[in-house]
């Protein structure tokens, strides 16, 4: 373990990676659309050995008191102990909460979903859109995989019928209106160099992480720094630029 870490650090200091990728190269990324037909929408993203499944369920509920005419988005992430020897059963961990909140902000701040269109009756009934992230195998960069799966699942979501009393999940008629495709790109700093899409071995030794979510128009809708080392301005600017460039590529996979 220690030896391997040292080896990865040595490589990184020269701008090289253990799996021979370039600094700005993503692992092979596959997007499977709607694998779970019980969900209103779903997507599975495999990024190398990282495997994430996202499902969207829609239920009818009451609006928030300060947003009487808006539906609600709820993003939740479960780090199932199935996906990694390090995950345990129990309430969501700090990193699961951070993941859910970063995915949430990417979608919310980009304006991808017009929550006003999710209002059924002002002040009384609105659609609640539950976006549940389920990790099936953790090999690093859960943020990008999860956010990619989430926007893909939303794009494939169909709204179930609602007769004023019951939601009929078996009958889905209208597509959910999705305005933008927010896509995150995570860059990590190892041994002074910047690398996109870290695998787990890289994450374990990284100093800092910056996840940048961009919209179709290149605007940024969310930033999140992680890790216990600082970054300097040039490193941040590098990560911002990478996010714009690589984001375009990832966005094509979303469809």
């Amino acid at each position: 373990m220690m030896l391997q870490n040292q080896y990865i650090l040595n490589l990184a200091s020269k701008g090289l990676r253990i799996d021979k990728r370039k600094q700005d190269e993503f692992r092979k990324t596959e997007v499977e659309k709607n694998p779970i037909d019980k969900a209103e929408g779903s997507a599975r993203v495999r990024m190398g050995k990282t495997d994430v499944l996202v499902g969207v369920k829609m239920e009818v509920g009451e609006p928030f008191p300060d947003k009487q005419d808006e539906g609600t988005l709820i993003v939740n992430a479960e780090f199932s102990p199935l996906a990694s020897p390090k995950f345990e059963t129990g309430p969501p961990r700090e990193d699961a909460i951070e993941l859910a909140r970063v995915v949430d902000r990417g979608i919310r701040e980009s304006g991808a979903i017009d929550t006003k269109k999710l209002c059924i009756k002002k002040g009384e009934k609105v659609w609640m859109v539950f976006i549940d992230i389920q990790i099936l195998n953790h090999d690093g960069n859960l943020m990008d995989a999860a956010a990619l799966a989430a926007i893909t699942a939303l794009l494939g979501t169909k709204i179930p019928e609602y007769d004023g009393k019951m939601v009929n999940h078996e009958k889905r008629t209208k597509k959910l209106h999705v305005l933008f495709k927010p896509v995150p790109v995570t860059t990590v700093k190892i041994a002074g160099n910047m690398f996109v899409d870290p695998c787990l071995d890289e994450e374990n030794i990284m100093g800092a992480r910056l996840t940048v979510t961009t919209k179709d128009d290149g605007n940024m809708c969310s930033l999140q720094k992680g890790g216990s080392e600082p970054l300097v301005m040039e490193e941040i600017e590098k990560a911002l630029d990478l996010a714009v460039e690589k984001g375009k590529e990832l966005r094509k996979l979303v469809g």
């Binding site: 019980k38 499902g55 199932s80 102990p81 549940d132 195998n137 939601v167």
Partner: protein, 227 residues
């Protein structure tokens, strides 16, 4: 007698079994029975934590069964429910007799099962997947455990009911067995049924396990070849 999806009374739903689906785990499997999909991953034998739960003369088997929130028609709230806790218990007791737990004293074997789509028969799919995952992890076993549920629709004992039949069945009788020695490791029933029907349902279910058992072994064989 015609079933809603055209199956014969003793016909199982289409079954797909695949071993080795979770790279991080020591062993894993995916089982699909109709629309129901279970993924099982095995970690261990590994150190027991907290330590005071160690068992001196055998491994502890811990099972977690969970419905993924989007697996069900209405969203399932994350976290254990009373139903899922009971299922964890009966799954553990269904698997225990098949494992040589005494070979790994003081350790823990963890079996995690996520139901990613639920369309009736989740506990039987879970057991079938867990059993293959344990074998995939190389844990020594007396036999695979194979599981299916019987029901009764009209006058017929039927097998492996799906959700559309759940409302009309007169009972739900899941059973799990080690076929080699005809030993039953799980038996539950809810319903309203004469004794003779209960007995018939059990026998029919055990018989149909043979087909599943074959698919379990094939999945493992395919996995070994790849390795």
């Amino acid at each position: 007698m015609k079933r809603s999806d055209g199956r014969k009374p003793d016909e199982l739903r289409p079954v797909v079994i695949k071993a080795g689906v979770v790279p991080n785990a020591n062993g894993s499997a995916m089982v699909q029975m109709g629309r129901t999909i279970a993924i099982a991953a095995v970690y261990g034998p590994r150190e027991m934590f907290p330590r005071h739960k160690k068992i001196p003369d055998r491994a502890a088997l811990e099972t977690v069964y969970a419905l993924v929130p989007f697996s069900t028609t209405d969203r399932a709230r994350p976290g254990p429910s009373r139903r899922s806790k009971e299922i964890c218990l009966v799954i553990r007791e269904a698997l225990e007799p098949a494992i040589f737990l005494e070979e790994f004293p003081k350790t823990c074997i963890n079996v995690y099962i996520d139901i990613i789509q639920a369309d009736a028969g989740t506990r039987t799919a879970a057991i079938n997947a867990a059993s293959v995952a344990l074998a995939d992890a190389g844990i020594p076993m007396r036999d695979l455990v194979t599981s299916v549920a019987a029901g009764k629709v009209g006058k017929d004992i039927v097998l492996d009911i799906d959700m559309t039949e759940e409302d009309i069945t007169k009972c739900d009788l899941p059973i799990a067995c080690m076929l080699r020695e005809k030993k039953i490791t799980l038996l539950q029933m809810d319903g309203d049924l004469p004794v003779k029907d209960v007995k018939e349902a059990m026998k029919l279910a055990i018989k149909s396990c043979e087909e599943l058992y074959k698919k379990q072994k094939e999945a493992l064989k395919e996995r070994w070849v790849k390795k």
